[in-house]
């Protein structure tokens, strides 16, 4: 792969991350209310001296930006909030949670990240495999019964909010049939005889949330794969393959699918941003202890540092995933490496 292509893509990704960090600073400064009151919340008998000491201690008396413009002209401030914020963010210091007293945002996020990765990793893998297979088959047998039903179901699933799907699955398979647990990651207060029992318990808790995520995604992947296959099948090389007398199954697997997969690579990456929205709500429905429930808890408690930490973490993940998709695309299709 051409070096300049890789470097330029990495450059764009870094610029995007820089813009996200900047946006985070601006958003935080937009917030009404004074930070020192949040810091001192619950402290009895706050005197003006304590207030002032707190402002000094947390750097709130420093100017906002490194360049200060006032009556005396333009001056430069070495001690300013923006530079401090930037330095702290680069070092991974995202500040303290307003609600979880004494815990850093980083620690709060770290507790919640793995359940989300597990849930969405599994959901994505199942959705990609099933969605692409369904789309490829419907496109190949265009106009057939599977295509008709598959297309309708895909469109309906695409129109369904994730959490609604989750509520339906929860009621059917969790409450009515009692097949699977509906709450959290493991049975509350359970003691396990060994790691296998523990894993099984986790697995049964995973079924419904993972099924929700996978069903929510399958529709979109199938729709894109279907139109991609339909387009590929009209290419000349498919006609050539038919003329050479290759069997249909071989044409589909060997010629059509590999070429039709290309557009879906970037789709999966672009969609990640929307998946994040679904992630948050699915976790809420099943009380899954991941970043989604954390986001909603932080939202209800107006825990802005945690919210911004979530935004930063999720945005950077999506940007990095897009970068990887671009690079994979470049690896698969030499035409885009310009």
């Amino acid at each position: 792969m051409a070096g300049s292509f890789i470097l330029r893509r990495i450059g764009v990704a870094l610029a995007t991350i820089a813009a996200i960090v900047l946006l985070n600073f601006v958003l935080f400064r937009l917030m009404p209310g004074s930070p020192e009151r949040v810091i001192l919340h619950g402290t009895p008998r706050v005197t003006p001296e304590i207030l002032e000491a707190t402002r000094e201690r947390w750097g709130l008396n420093d100017p906002l930006l490194p360049i200060v413009i006032d009556q005396s002209g333009i001056s430069f401030a070495a001690e300013n909030q923006f530079t401090k914020y930037l330095a702290a963010t680069v070092q991974g210091d995202l500040g303290y949670s307003f609600v979880a007293r004494g815990q850093t945002v980083g620690a709060v996020l770290a507790q919640r990240i793995w359940p989300t990765v597990l849930l969405f990793g599994l959901g994505e893998i199942i959705a990609i495999a099933a969605g692409l297979a369904l789309g490829a088959y419907s496109g190949w047998r265009r106009g057939g019964p599977i295509d008709f039903v598959g297309n309708g179901v895909s469109l309906l699933l695409y129109a369904t909010p994730y959490f609604l799907l989750g509520m339906v699955l929860l009621m059917l398979f969790g409450v009515a049939l009692r097949w699977f647990p509906i709450f959290g990651m493991q049975t509350a207060g359970a003691t396990y005889d060994g790691p296998i029992e523990q894993l099984l318990d986790l697995g049964s808790h995973l079924v419904l949330p993972v099924a929700t995520v996978a069903l929510g995604l399958i529709g979109q992947y199938a729709i894109v794969m279907r139109s991609s296959i339909v387009e590929t099948l009209s290419e000349d090389y498919i006609t050539t393959a038919r003329a050479m007398g290759l069997r249909e199954g071989r044409i589909l697997r060997g010629h059509a699918v590999p070429n039709a997969l290309l557009p879906t690579v970037s789709l999966v990456a672009i969609n990640l941003g929307y998946v994040v929205a679904g992630a948050i709500t699915v976790e809420v429905v099943f009380s899954w202890p991941g970043l989604g429930t954390l986001t909603v808890e932080a939202l209800q408690a107006r825990d802005y540092p945690v919210l911004q930490g979530v935004f930063l973490l999720l945005s950077i993940s999506v940007v990095v995933a897009n970068l990887l998709a671009d690079l994979i695309y470049g690896l698969l299709d030499p035409r885009v490496r310009t």
Binding site: T16, A159, M167, L272, A277, V285, V296, Y304
Partner: protein
């Protein structure tokens, strides 16, 4: 029509005749799309609900005016059952249609206006301005805009101070949601419109307009905009579907307004009251089915329009 010079009034009449013919031809082609007709039919039903909810189910029930029991299944008098404070679910769902559809409509207008202006200006002016506008567009395309909307909504609400002010009969809390959806979801519209503008810019009629002395603003308004309006309409329908879904999701995570419940807000209330765990399907099925049907219908209409109006897709067919 005789050959030769036409008077201005003849010219105007002729223009309207041609427009009328184009609209009839388009309606004829649209009528042959079964999916498009199905979608339009579903939307007509929900538009009727949204237009006059009071005529159908009376005024919105509140905790004070509720007459039913707690979480009662469908029964005569309460065809869709009741919620946890005894309100009629049918009443809530029909009133929710107005809230969800109006929020979706207003958010779509903001989204499409921002997207179209950015797209036309970036594509027509080109150069550094295009570069800068497209950087911003790409930024909004790649970041998870829903999470941004999630953070922006409470911040802007605190800034404007919600109170009980109303705009277009919509409470301020929901107007904030409209604005937030608008400013976070215009990027794909801008991309599409810019692409079309780039190719229009090179066409002869634009050069001709420039030669007779038309300025850039007038060319964009009078020559570019009429030629991308088809694309804008087709895109707006799809944007509407997305806006309804975004509003639903924002309400579901607790950013809705309980005093003016949208479908998403009813679903949030259903989840918070434990309806799925209690098997109270009648609480979340009506708003849920409404959302799915509306978004489904918009997708059908949008893709039918896209096939008929989008020049790129027309060529391929």
């Amino acid at each position: 029509m005789s050959a030769g010079v036409m008077t201005p009034s003849e010219l105007r009449r002729e223009r309207w005749r041609l427009r009328g013919r184009a609209v009839r031809a388009f309606a004829g082609r649209y009528a042959r799309r079964r999916d498009g007709i199905l979608g339009a039919g579903i939307l007509a039903v929900f538009a009727a609900l949204a237009a006059a909810p009071e005529l159908i189910v009376g005024p919105l029930q509140t905790a004070v005016t509720a007459t039913g029991g707690r979480l009662e299944p469908p029964a005569p008098g309460f065809p869709l059952g009741t919620d946890e404070i005894g309100r009629d679910i049918l009443n809530l769902t029909v009133h929710g249609a107005r809230v969800s559809m109006v929020i979706g409509l207003l958010a779509t207008v903001i989204t499409v206006v921002i997207g179209a202006v950015v797209g036309i200006v970036a594509g027509f002016v080109g150069g550094r301005l295009d570069g800068a506008l497209m950087r911003v567009t790409d930024f909004f395309l790649v970041i998870p805009t829903f999470v941004l909307a999630l953070i922006l909504t409470p911040i802007i609400r605190d800034l404007v101070g919600s109170g009980s002010r109303e705009v277009f009969g919509i409470r301020m809390t929901l107007i904030v949601i409209v604005v937030v959806i608008g400013i976070t979801s215009w990027s794909s519209t801008a991309r599409i419109i810019r692409g079309q503008t780039l190719s229009l810019r090179e066409r002869a009629f634009v050069d001709r307009a420039r030669v007779v002395g038309a300025g850039p603003g007038s060319i964009m308004r009078r020559h570019i905009l009429p030629n991308v309006i088809n694309l804008i309409v087709a895109n707006a329908v799809l944007v509407f579907a997305g806006a309804v879904l975004t509003e639903t999701t924002l309400s579901f995570v607790g950013l809705g307004d309980p005093f003016q419940p949208s479908w998403g807000q009813i679903l949030e209330a259903a989840r918070a009251s434990g309806a799925p765990g209690l098997g109270a399907w009648w609480y979340f099925a009506p708003p849920g089915v409404s959302i799915v049907l509306v978004v489904f219908a918009f997708t059908l209409v949008g893709s039918a329009l896209d096939d008929l109006l989008n020049p790129k897709r027309r060529v391929r067919r």
